[in-house]
Amino acid sequence: MTIQTIPAFAAAKKNRVPLAQIDVRGAEAAKRLARVLPTTGEHTVRSATFNSAL
């Protein structure tokens, strides 16, 4: 057995958004979190889908 440092993923840094700039209320973060956290059942406003109007 050896004792040595485990390298962190050097490559894993690319395109990282700084912590301070993460908008956890934004749609992108919500989508990300929804994949791994139980859904809160939070009601969301849905956009209209009626075919004959916008």
């Binding site: 485990i6 301070a20 979190l33 956290l37 139980p38 406003v45 009626f50 075919n51």
Partner: protein, 795 residues
């Protein structure tokens, strides 16, 4: 019909039943239904009041956060400003304090004037306008009864709406397709008016009255729309196009965005000018009276209409489309098309759409154009997967800060400030994010907070322990920290301890005090070049060399070497128990040594039998956690099935140490296959509507949902270099998956990767590298590497 009642969130309110144009493609006046002849021209005061009342009671009883009311016709502006004011007033008053009211109007624009727009501004009514494109296109159908063009008047209306004082009311333009028009000219004409959004409608048609196809092409409408798509793409896609956005949404696992596409249950009801409650009015193109329900706002609540068989038929999701559609690979995107477009006199709505070939060509055309852009890099690039998973962990940390919302007190604020200071590109936060159980800690804490679990806030305060450990791991406390928020080095980090133990994730556990009165408190941890120092009140400072075990310091050991990558053997982290089998407690030195030797032996096998795979594992893995023996991994089981409880960062494997090197090699490959898929599922949408379809799995009786099939295939593909039978099953499973409707674009791209993996199989000669005489359990191996590392008495 089964399933819960789907409440109405969208009300189409017919405020006027006549129109000042005579468009020859209009489904209200020119198609099968003629009910408009017997309706009052304008909606009555009584019908307005009852509609408002019914809507408010419906929104209240179903706790709807919002409802949309679309003022429609005929031509709704013909109702006049006085009547429209009354509609807006009554609806606004009735919904006040009950639900958010989203008011819209859809008009041909001919009557639009500042008088109307001031009214709409007062009530926040957004305005959509029908326009079929350039003048030649618009004139093809949208004319006055005497044949005059309406085009200049529509442009005038749009111009008015685009003025600064009204621009916020401009909803967009709705264009009905005619394939005789030039698609590029149509799109350009619409785009020139800078609409906030656009939608293209297929002209209403049924199997009784099919759409014109002058050149006989079954995909003429798809071709036309794809020409528009290409033009839209050339222009940078600056204008949202609902039709295209809907396909792009479903291709990536999201919902359909229009009732004409996708499998979402319908949630809209129509109120006619006489108060009659009807189904969606495009049904009027099918047959006379097709939209009728027999209900009205005066005597019937909306719930009665929501239970009407005709409405329920459009809420059955997959069961609501015909048999042919149910197994079609694109059905999640097209949803069988608009309900009205499926009609035939013989089978009513139990048909494919009369636009079926067009819809399939449209979905496949968009997929072909956007497959690359819609596939996250994580699917094809291991480094991107690691990076994206760490981004997820970082988002969890940001989310924890938000959820605490001050409840963490000064302790949290202090740790959070340090995290911010260490963040931009600094090695310390990289170290934190690359520890797989930091991810687990965040998920558990967030889940605990959401559930109001006692102790969740105390769990959150472990951030300081993670940061202190990360600073030590980073090795250089004075490492490039941002000019934005410089951190002086060395940084003493206050870290809470419990039961006299200071836990530093990924590093080890330090006993500060024996259990007793001083068993709980806060210590200062200072990272130094050759270790760290811990200062706690009541004892002298402790200098710790992380790799040296002492009576007080139990380090996380490192195994590997001799060709194997160095990996943490983490038998200490409090969050490591996140695998299918229970995690073992701290190993004794002999057990740890056995892990070390077995890993070295297993790695030698991997490098020989599957060098490419061995390199991939070496690049991705950081941590092994010993699990209790006796648990057989469940093929197809995904950690994401129990979100918030299970799950860990990319780079960890949980394994029960087997008896032979070969078995460990197999266990490593299989566990890595599972871990890689789980990580992918946590950062990308590979499928949607899991469980709606069942598929044969070549390794078992009976059928399984796509999640299990894909997981079984991934694991077997990973094991392929050591298991030819499993590789064969993986190939069969992949063939089944090729036509699975659940798969997103990213999911399909993953299939290509898996085929590539199977074809290469990682063997030294690229031919599969598998000894066909040996099974995955290593029991019959005759390749000379089967049991050479077996421990005596370790059956």
């Amino acid at each position: 019909m089964k399933g819960p009642l789907v409440p109405f969130r969208e009300i189409v309110l017919k405020v006027h039943s006549r129109c000042d144009l005579a468009c020859d493609h209009c489904y209200i006046y020119e198609h099968a239904d003629h009910s408009w002849r017997n309706r009052p021209k304008a909606i009555s005061d009584e019908a307005i009041s009852w509609t408002a009342l019914r809507l408010a009671e419906h929104a209240k009883s179903h706790a709807l956060p919002s409802v949309s009311v679309i003022l429609h016709g005929g031509e709704p502006l013909l109702a006049g400003p006085g009547r429209l004011r009354r509609v807006c007033e009554e609806l606004t008053a009735a919904l006040d304090g009950v639900a958010e009211l989203d008011l819209r109007i859809h008009t041909n624009g001919l009557q639009l004037s500042p008088r109307y727009l001031d009214l709409f501004d007062e009530f926040g009514v957004k305005v959509g306008i029908s326009l079929d494109g350039d003048r030649a296109a618009n004139d093809r159908h949208r004319r006055f009864a005497d044949g005059r063009t309406s085009h200049p008047l529509v442009l005038r209306a749009v111009e008015l709406l685009r003025q600064e004082r009204y621009r916020h009311l401009y909803l967009g333009l709705l264009c009905t397709v005619d394939i005789a028009n030039d698609p590029v000219a149509v799109y350009d004409a619409l785009a020139e008016l800078a609409p906030p959004r656009v939608d293209f409608l297929l002209p209403h048609a049924t199997w009784e009255s099919p759409p014109p196809r002058p050149d006989g092409s079954p995909t003429a409408y798809a071709d036309w729309l794809l020409a528009v798509f290409d033009r839209w793409d050339e222009g940078g896609r600056t204008i949202p196009v609902r039709l295209f956005d809907s396909v792009l949404s479903t291709l990536t696992g999201g919902p359909g965005l229009t009732e004409s596409l996708g499998l979402a249950p319908t949630d809209l009801v129509v109120v006619e000018t006489d108060g009659a409650l009807e189904q969606v009015d495009s049904l009027k193109s099918a047959y006379d009276g097709a939209a009728a329900t027999g209900f009205d706002v005066f005597t019937h609540p909306f719930d009665l209409v929501a239970g009407h068989p005709g409405v329920r038929a459009r809420q059955l999701e997959l069961a609501g489309v015909g048999e042919t559609c149910r197994t079609c690979p694109v059905v999640r995107s097209c949803g069988g098309g608009l309900y009205a477009h499926r009609y035939s006199a013989h089978r009513e709505f139990d048909n494919t759409s009369v636009y079926c070939a067009d819809l399939e060509a449209l979905v496949r055309g968009i997929e072909a154009r956007d497959a690359e852009a819609l596939t996250p890099a994580a699917v094809t690039d291991p480094d991107a997967l690691a990076a994206e998973h760490q981004n997820l962990t970082l988002t969890l940390l940001a989310s924890l800060h938000r959820e605490l919302d001050g409840r963490g007190g000064e302790e949290w604020d202090r740790a959070w400030r340090l995290a911010l200071a260490l963040d931009p590109g600094g090695p310390a936060l990289d170290a934190l994010l690359s520890h797989p159980y930091a991810h687990t800690w965040l998920r558990r804490t967030l889940t605990g907070l959401a559930a109001g679990r006692p102790g969740a806030i105390a769990e959150a305060l472990r951030l300081s322990a993670h940061l202190a450990a990360a600073l030590i791991t980073a090795g250089d406390p004075a490492a490039p920290v941002p000019a934005l928020a410089p951190v002086p080095a060395p940084v003493p980090v206050p870290v809470p301890y419990e039961d006299g133990l200071l836990e530093l994730p990924a590093l080890g556990t330090l006993r500060l005090f024996p259990p007793g009165p001083r068993s709980r408190g806060e210590a200062l941890v200072t990272a130094e070049a050759d270790g760290f120092t811990v200062t706690a009140e009541g004892r002298s400072p402790l200098k710790v060399a992380p790799g040296v075990e002492t009576a007080d310091w139990r380090p996380v050991r490192t195994v590997g070497g001799g060709g194997a990558p160095p990996l943490r053997l983490d038998d200490l982290d409090p969050c490591r128990d996140c695998f299918d089998a229970p995690a073992l407690p701290r190993l004794d030195p002999a057990e740890a040594d056995r892990w070390d030797r077995r890993l070295t032996g297993a790695w030698a096998l991997l490098r020989s039998a599957a060098p490419a795979r061995a390199a991939e594992l070496a690049g991705a893995l950081t941590t092994l956690t010993p699990l209790a023996p006796g648990e057989t991994p469940v093929f197809g089981r995904s950690a994401t099935r129990e979100p918030g409880v299970r799950g860990h960062g990319y780079g960890a494997l949980g394994i029960a140490l087997p008896a032979t090197d070969r078995e460990l090699a197999v266990a490593l490959l299989g566990a890595f296959g599972r871990a890689r898929l789980n990580a992918l599922l946590e950062v990308a949408d590979l499928y949607a509507q899991d469980g709606w379809w069942r598929h044969p799995a070549p390794w078992q009786e009976g059928e399984v949902p796509v999640s299990e099939l894909l997981a079984g295939v991934c694991e077997r593909a990973a094991l392929a270099p050591l298991d030819p039978e499993g590789a064969h099953q993986a190939a069969q499973g992949l063939k089944t998956l090729e036509d699975a409707p659940e798969l997103t674009v990213a999911g399909r791209r993953l299939l290509a990767e898996l085929w590539r993996e199977l074809d290469g199989s990682g063997g030294p000669d690229g031919s599969g590298g598998t000894d066909s005489t040996s099974g995955p359990d290593g029991t019959s191996g005759s390749d000379g590497v089967d049991g050479s590392g077996a421990e005596p008495g370790h059956a």
